[in-house]
Symmetry: D2
Subunit: 370 residues, 4 copies
Amino acid sequence: MRELGIGLIGTGFMGRAHALAFHNAKAVFDFPLNLTLAALADADPQRARQCAQSWGFATAHSDWQQLIDDPKVNLIAITTPNHLHFPMAMAALAAGKPVYCEKPLAVSLEQAEQMQQAAKAAGVVTRVGYNYQHNPIIQLARDMIQRGELGRIISFQGEFSEDFMADPTSPWSWRCEAAHAGGALADLGSHLLAMARHLLGNVEAVCADSQTVHNQRPASAGNPEQRAIVVDDQVHALLRFTNGARGTVSSSWLKHGYKNHLSFEISGTLGTLAFDQERLNELRLCRIGQPGFQRLLAGPDLPGYAAFSPAAGHQLGYNELKTLEVQELLMALAGQGGSGTDFAEAWEVERLAAAIRVAAREQRWVKISE
Amino acid sequence: MRELGIGLIGTGFMGRAHALAFHNAKAVFDFPLNLTLAALADADPQRARQCAQSWGFATAHSDWQQLIDDPKVNLIAITTPNHLHFPMAMAALAAGKPVYCEKPLAVSLEQAEQMQQAAKAAGVVTRVGYNYQHNPIIQLARDMIQRGELGRIISFQGEFSEDFMADPTSPWSWRCEAAHAGGALADLGSHLLAMARHLLGNVEAVCADSQTVHNQRPASAGNPEQRAIVVDDQVHALLRFTNGARGTVSSSWLKHGYKNHLSFEISGTLGTLAFDQERLNELRLCRIGQPGFQRLLAGPDLPGYAAFSPAAGHQLGYNELKTLEVQELLMALAGQGGSGTDFAEAWEVERLAAAIRVAAREQRWVKISE
Amino acid sequence: MRELGIGLIGTGFMGRAHALAFHNAKAVFDFPLNLTLAALADADPQRARQCAQSWGFATAHSDWQQLIDDPKVNLIAITTPNHLHFPMAMAALAAGKPVYCEKPLAVSLEQAEQMQQAAKAAGVVTRVGYNYQHNPIIQLARDMIQRGELGRIISFQGEFSEDFMADPTSPWSWRCEAAHAGGALADLGSHLLAMARHLLGNVEAVCADSQTVHNQRPASAGNPEQRAIVVDDQVHALLRFTNGARGTVSSSWLKHGYKNHLSFEISGTLGTLAFDQERLNELRLCRIGQPGFQRLLAGPDLPGYAAFSPAAGHQLGYNELKTLEVQELLMALAGQGGSGTDFAEAWEVERLAAAIRVAAREQRWVKISE
Amino acid sequence: MRELGIGLIGTGFMGRAHALAFHNAKAVFDFPLNLTLAALADADPQRARQCAQSWGFATAHSDWQQLIDDPKVNLIAITTPNHLHFPMAMAALAAGKPVYCEKPLAVSLEQAEQMQQAAKAAGVVTRVGYNYQHNPIIQLARDMIQRGELGRIISFQGEFSEDFMADPTSPWSWRCEAAHAGGALADLGSHLLAMARHLLGNVEAVCADSQTVHNQRPASAGNPEQRAIVVDDQVHALLRFTNGARGTVSSSWLKHGYKNHLSFEISGTLGTLAFDQERLNELRLCRIGQPGFQRLLAGPDLPGYAAFSPAAGHQLGYNELKTLEVQELLMALAGQGGSGTDFAEAWEVERLAAAIRVAAREQRWVKISE
């Protein structure tokens, strides 16, 4: 059985989420691969060592290039701040190694394009961490759409809103910098755009309106110094999908009451389905002829769920979605299919977000192919 | 006390709804007016007589012009098919009589403009039946917005969807004709636009996308003959409000699972509120600092509710909203305020819908003032 | 067509609700009766006259016996405080006139029994105002149960809770006196018991636990004087139905968050249905084989709804339920069926409540037939 | 740092859940213990080896007694069928080793009593897997109750219903045998009773009604042979808590529409809170003076949640609750507190369930101390 040594860069929340996901995927799923946690990198050597030890990695590096070069490492997982995705992924691809990069792919469309071209040239498996798509109930939604159970799809209405910047005294952070892929559209909206594409396919044209509501924020918590903010606090857009469906997307990080409101309603000629990430184990569905929506609760009839529990209602959480993402990645590395967002698809998401930005700035419809 | 003789034209569902509303308003509220049900008109003389008798009207007419000319009639209520609103309202205004006309004001923007000018010239009270606005809990929402409880309003996301045309074999009806103010935008969307204006005021510019999904329908139920359909089945739009808020509106009569889904979420810097006409006695509200939405159930703290019940949770229905609309109309006739949609405001709603149509047709942002 | 003169006693909220219901029933339904609002009685002659005028009654009485004796009056509607139900209804029955009495039937089981015997002896139509049962969606639930759509019924879990006494400084009122049918069980729970019987039939035995949480309350708002309270603030009970179903009922007027939470879940071998009076136009239903509950929203497929609106989602409110109750009463008076709670059935409800009281006091199972 | 070698018996779904929980607890939390996965036992030696390898255990045993005797093993985790809990736990206690046993503690009250006495005599840490209690939002509920935020608690209304036996052709299984702790009360209800005790403390007396609805079931799927069933399909009970609160509990495995409906409403003089395991990241709360319930979504303000995610709305699932249970167990083993259900408390749960059985059989109130 082929050896697969995981090399993980980054030891924050997302680093640990990756570490757990690799371990749990190994315990839960069967792969024709001998998975090992080969190496962990963090700029702080002590933290690298400590986390390696407690998460079960064999070696620790303080230089990420060394991790990439480590011959025991066959897959590079990147969980560092957004602006580091580009150099790390490019280096990994240059070394001919598969890459699993957290979202967003990059902090500019130019970088994203280079990355997807480099991935294509390297011919290796790539994945970007849009893990919400790996929810088994989202997989069910997608299957239903593709099997035609909702008929011809005519509308997608999506929203991803949270409230974490709603307080105007919430301080500036890197999320407020366009150069770090900040702003509500890049930070939240990209998840929604990725989901829309995942479910309905290509978008042809967009029109949009975006707004910076709070033009300045404290430089840090309680700091009287204010920093100017130019990234968007909210965006609304119209979408025309290639399949003929039309839709709206909205994203805001100022919306009181929402914590993780990645939601959508998809209307087809034979039914409507609705989802909200705040209740990620549920789908609401109304088929033609039914009097109203019914609630579907994730259960073991969904393969991704059955892997974790034999009983409906036990509920999956965020970490299981990550484990399922890793499972698909590993299947791809084993040459056995494996769905997920590769660099080419992640670049499409970036391109769509960029078109929305142009449409908002120029107040006109923009074709994605422009 | 001044006599006020009601003259009602039309004996359909809406005619009866008006008749009940006038009676119930008299029983429930105090007015400085001596309200009488003076005359009822229907083209069918027998039906006119029968309904007059069972609804309590003093006289019956088969010619609506006679009703308008009847000296005992001081207010003309119009509940006939849409294309008759114009001639009847114009005749009533020519006679110098106040008019209470069902929505939509007219079947074309030109008619609507003439009607609002005639109303202005006549100097009489006019009202158009956008009765959803008279829901006490909507009044509460509006008061909260106007008192600044939600802070600066930044977003309005509205939808009015139903499923009554979702079946492609649902036959053609007058609602499928533009010349009768048909189509999802005119039939449903206008309620939503009226609500958006009621709550947030003027809209400055719109961009939109609309679609006819089913291009033909049976001429009548089960009829093999098909009629071509050109009115919109669904519309999505972006709105820019004069107060700076941005938003989306969607309307569809093809959306499985919804019966009366006139809904909105309004996001402000100090809170979010949400409403759905399918649960018309409820408002969901999250104020800054609160962990999540709380449900408000209409109760006697709301004056319009207290008029009907001393206890929360008893619930108002459609007919009470109509009674409340009539109450406001009667207050206006008594010269004591009285909110509601007059012809000038109803024309603004029509103008906004017309701008959305232009924006959809020409695929560009349209200023309302164009 | 036979004349039917309505004589109404009481001019409070419930008196007006009756007045509106009689008027609206006449306008909305066809009856083989010539309904007139014949007389209104209130101890205060001026109020009697005023209300008669504004509600459309032909005469006013300040002595209720005179109203009963009035030859123009053929039906006695009683909306006075609970302790007056007995003398008024007995006088009406003595005069051989049909009676429509607000709930509860009486303030003691002994009175209730006398009333039902007098009704039986008089052989006239009687009705008690358990109007929640006349909700068309409750009628649907009952029909489904009776047609066997839920299979064999195995469980009823019901609750009627509100919060109007939850504040311990809410003052004493007549509702705190057992002699006026006060306490959570009599005031709220009786609605729930009536509903349970309406849907599932006879109860055979009960066991119960009740509690007075706040043993004293201010004599009036803000009054430092305290009155001792002995009626129950909450009650929980087990029920064994004659049809073999088992269940629980709970009632409290101390439960924060609820305004009119008359709710139940009925479980059968073929399905589960759930209802909450706070959303009175909805039923939640899960049939065998379905993955979860679906929501049914009242619409014109339900006859009682269709009478008021041709479109689903318009929603009925409290007043329509009252109108529907009156319609059934009028059908009964016309000798054409007419469902509803008569004095015999209302006595059964009282008997069931009394058994619950005994069971709670003696801490044992009590057979209703004891 | 002290070594702690985990010995796990059983390789089913629950065995794997334990294996993952130990690993993830080690990665997520800091303990003053050096945790190792020392040994795994399964009667099938090949399966034992395979699972040990893929879950990361150092050794595999096919004889559970050998695992208990293994000197590298310092904690015995038992995830075998219910009837094996007793011999395994007794052997572990005899060896003086701490025990972590899945629920139920035993298949008879007598066994449970012996086990809790043996645990007391051994003086070691014991835990039983009532992992729903380790939900951070349940911890919040408990803290709120204990801090008095809901005032004096007056009512607990709980239910644990599922639908997995609702189909009468669902075959017999060990869950249908009393000797394996089968029946709705033992299988589901015990979780609810444990939760009620966790939140409100001791119960003093119960009255109950239980029922076997389907008296026979196929011996296996599709098998024409029927087996007689005597365990309960549903149970309803009244509870009197020592703290004065009263309540109801219901449990059914025949209730269509529910998958994991472990739910409760707790009413206090200062507020009401409600929970449903089918939405395990949510609590609904209404405090005195608030107009209605508000939804709390688990977030990083709850320590148990913060361990897994820095952002609200990410959601925990079943496996995180298990990890949190293990974390508390490990804290207890480290002598640093550590909440959870020990054998003494689990015996109290069994004793309460047994009292409910007696109350149902004898149709009378039963004191727990009887």
